[in-house]
Amino acid sequence: MTPEQHALHEAAMQAFLAKKKYKAAVRRQKDEEEANLGMTSLMDIVSILVIYLLKSYASDPVVINPTAGQKIPFSSADASIQDGMPVFVTVRGITFQDQKVVTMTSEGEVDPSMVQNHLIGPLFDAFSEEADKAKQMSENRGVEWEGRLIVVGDQSLKFSTLIDVLFTAGRAEFKEYTFCVIRKG
């Protein structure tokens, strides 16, 4: 490279660096642009979601949330569930008012020590307590207590267990029983 060529190269290099520096300075001086989130499309999605959820909103007076692993029986019945107290009877236990009252044996039956002539002791206590409360509340409101028990059973629940639960409820002064089922089709 001749000295002239070298000098030309140096000058070009310096000009390039100066331009780069200037650009960087301009960039630094520029105000940062505010990022605007596109709300309209998000709003559309959320509105559709809310409408869908409102459509599938449970209109029944009692919302039944089955316990883990519970398989509610299927049926062709279409009558809607009326207001009452739900009891969840599975092959693992009996849950009433969010409390596991009875634990079943490995065969899916109530522990024989808890049952006496079809009466399940701990369940009877829980039923009686709630029935008394409900009766008191109905009395205060001046309406008659309907005494409806909603039995949320399990597909594989044994008939003998079902009878024990119904018998116990009868002794605790529940008068009407309803089996909760999943509407087929």
């Binding site: 049926s75 044994k158 089922v181």
Partner: protein, 194 residues
């Protein structure tokens, strides 16, 4: 006179502040999810066995006309035992009940207990239809079962005796009469044997 050119005014688009609306929407979603019905639930109203009935004084003629059917369906391990007016259908001559053989056998004999389709629901429904034709005013049926019969079988038995196309939802609300394809839709649960 020459018209003065109108100044072009740019309309400013005012963007609505959607954030508060979004906040409410996002709060609504979990609230609605909590109250959402994931599966459509229905109810089957059952009655416990009645041990006493109110005494009435029907006339002799009425007594004869309204002789109760007293339909009973007993779910056994090998099928259904159907009883009407205290007489089991299919029992040996001179016997009111015969526990050795069912009135309606299994649809799938040899199927495991966990196969809920092993019972002949169609045959039971046909039988209920026959009885309904003879006793059009009767609506109750007593259902009992052996101790190890699963609840799903009990429910499908109730469906079969009431008629699988029977829809009483509107009748329960009081907006319609009971449909004609409903047979015995008031089940009474009775304790079984064993």
């Amino acid at each position: 006179m020459a018209k003065r050119p109108r100044k072009k005014t740019e309309e400013k688009v005012v963007e609505a502040n959607l954030l508060p609306v979004m906040n409410i929407m996002f709060l609504l979603i979990p609230a609605l999810l909590m109250a959402m019905e994931f599966a459509s639930m229905a109810a089957i109203n059952v009655s416990p066995p009645k041990f006493s009935s109110a005494p009435s004084e029907p006339t002799e003629e009425k007594k004869e006309q309204e002789k109760p059917l007293d339909l009973k369906v007993f779910i056994m391990d090998d099928g259904y035992r159907v009883e009407a007016s205290g007489q089991q259908e299919g029992a040996d001559a001179g016997k009111s009940a015969d526990s050795s053989k069912p009135t309606i056998g299994l649809a799938k004999s040899g199927a495991p207990d966990t196969d809920y389709d092993r019972y002949d629901y169609a045959a039971l429904e046909a039988k209920a239809k026959e009885y309904k034709a003879l006793f059009p005013n009767d609506t109750t049926v007593k259902i009992s079962a052996e101790s190890n019969v699963p609840m799903q079988v009990v429910i499908w038995t109730m469906d079969a005796v009431s008629g699988r196309d029977c829809k009483i939802g509107k009748f329960m609300k009081g907006t319609e009469d009971i449909p004609k394809n409903c047979y015995f839709w008031q089940p009474i649960i009775e304790g079984g044997a064993g």
